[in-house]
Symmetry: C2
Subunit: 429 residues, 2 copies
Amino acid sequence: MRLSRYFLPVMREAPAEAEIVSHKLMLRAGMIQQVSAGIYDWLPLGLAVLKRVERIVREEMNAAGALEILMPTIQPADLWRESERYEAYGKEMLRIKDRHERDMLYGPTNEENVTDIFRRHVRSYRQLPLNLYHIQWKFRDEIRPRFGVMRGREFLMKDAYSFDLDYEGARRAYDNMFVAYLRTFKRMGLTAIPMQAETGPIGGNMSHEFQILASTGESAVFYDAAFEEVDFDAPDLDIERLKALYAATDDMHDPAKCPVPADRLRTGRGIEVGHIFYFGTKYSAKMGANVMGPDGTETPVEMGSYGIGVSRLVGALIEAFHDEKGIVWPEAVAPYRVALVNLRPDDEACRALAEDLYGRLRAMHVDVLLDDTEERAGAKFATMDLIGIPWQVTIGPRGVKEDRVELKERRTGERHDLSPALLVERFAP
Amino acid sequence: MRLSRYFLPVMREAPAEAEIVSHKLMLRAGMIQQVSAGIYDWLPLGLAVLKRVERIVREEMNAAGALEILMPTIQPADLWRESERYEAYGKEMLRIKDRHERDMLYGPTNEENVTDIFRRHVRSYRQLPLNLYHIQWKFRDEIRPRFGVMRGREFLMKDAYSFDLDYEGARRAYDNMFVAYLRTFKRMGLTAIPMQAETGPIGGNMSHEFQILASTGESAVFYDAAFEEVDFDAPDLDIERLKALYAATDDMHDPAKCPVPADRLRTGRGIEVGHIFYFGTKYSAKMGANVMGPDGTETPVEMGSYGIGVSRLVGALIEAFHDEKGIVWPEAVAPYRVALVNLRPDDEACRALAEDLYGRLRAMHVDVLLDDTEERAGAKFATMDLIGIPWQVTIGPRGVKEDRVELKERRTGERHDLSPALLVERFAP
């Protein structure tokens, strides 16, 4: 992408209403803008990151054997009356009447909808196990939306739902998602700590929430140092051991009762980005989603649900990866991997080299942002640091004469000179 | 994908409520199911096609220089009061009150929202031309939703919005989209006929709608045979000539006044899948979206909007491509390119060959659906024909002994035997 043709409305100062660093930086970097309280436009740079996060979540769900579907945003109230949640849900549910005065709602979650899909089509244990997920916008009418996309009203969520014949199957499905979640967050460069959680309004009796570590996190977390050494991709990964490792938020942590020796106890701050639940037959029993077992008897199907806050993760990533100059994207989620900063687009030699590098990197499918604008050098560097591109290449008249460019790593600030040919090699697949 | 692990609830008979062939086939092929009138779940097969259509639309928009953003589904009524459309829009707009009793709505279109983005960030002609698009779910509360995804209430639409300093710029932006649309539909295997259209409630004075040809189309269309010969990718494409070619729906067509000689006049049936409008300063003037020209004077920005019905296209494609056995997907939008039908998964030699081919095709990034189920042969063939996979490979015990499989092309029904090695070569990139 050429910056001269891009839409990147960066700001020097964040609007006063932004309270936390991710919200400030997303506004300053021109990633989002507010349309109404807790409702945002995603501008090109923000959408690019959102799509990268979404893609990693999707790939890991597919790798775990879950099947992608798409349920609508608007649901009929009648489905929620079957589960007895329509009245119970409270004011966070956005209730709507359509032109025929039918009660509808904007889905805050999809247990009822997915259970309805299941009961219409699945009859036999031979069609199990089944895990259906979707990545869809949800709405929760928070009384006080804030913190940008971290607690918005309209937000993008991945929610998966598992269906099994019995508890053993449901536990396998739960464990499968447990590991998929750890892999998902790790691919984004995040350290995620799973912790046993209250099951809350969704109900059930086996639940973990996933907190990613960030110095600016919303709650203090305590966890066993063993988490830092786990290889989630190991074929012999011991999930039971992993689930048993100690981890707790500060409201649950009691130093007197903590089973982890002090030298192995780590502390940090966490942001919740995922939550998984086993809830058995809570919905299937009420909604008549039964399945026939091998012995011919019909029982309500065993279910679990598995959520990841996709749009929330964009904010959480910034909370985890930023410095005083701006965002520091991990490569896996960066909107562009390389920035080519041409200091002198009016200089023919600089222009030619910048265009050549741009073409060659793109030919190798490297995502490149070429700054071909007439801005002054200081502003160009500040923008690239603000928007957090991992690798920044500076092209200037002196370097061009000496057949070299400067490569800077955003994370470490390390710079070194190298020839354009070596630069291209550096990013070859 | 292995069919044994897929979720493909096919049906022999379509539910009685389905009136048109695409709706019947989408239900029978397990692509969608209705949640409420005009609101659908997209099951895995349907979603796979929807994503392919969406991707082609996105790639062609990007190629045309448009920038992708994402505006929310829920908008504040105040934006629409500025354009004076809030009261005017009628009952098709889904109006909502949030918990604080603020008037909100589910966006049926996004002129106001995008104009708001523009006015907050763009001040100078130097930031133009600009074309922002998004692919987002919309809601129009149709009094009588029907025809499945062809006239749903919640539907996926690509809408782009161009911003230019003056009429000449706006016309270039319009022409750019005009050609991008023809390319987009052609990539899906469709013949699209652009026809001058009434501008309707969105307003303005330059507008074309794009009708794709399908024997079961909703309206009769008449057009100049020259459309069938145009190469939309030609560098010297004459857009003015193309825009001047005769095309009309039957309510506009007057044989007495038709300028096309009879031997060049074609007739067919069409389905509207896209609509483009130039509407000048209709929104920018009311909403204060001004831009400074080179002479220092401020004027309301010139705008156009460009819509494609993405979810509607899935239905339209089926209307254009089906036969008595089911759907006949063009390769570009097929959910899977190749189906491997193993007639005898219980036979070790058949199983081994099927697995080998499955692995090798996947290694070449060919999208393959492997039927590894215990169904009888007739049902397997019927399902593959119903869901319309372009290339169907049959693996059976006799063929395995003779080192051959049968390849069938869904579109023509042509079959021939070939060795597994040649089959792999056939689909090599």
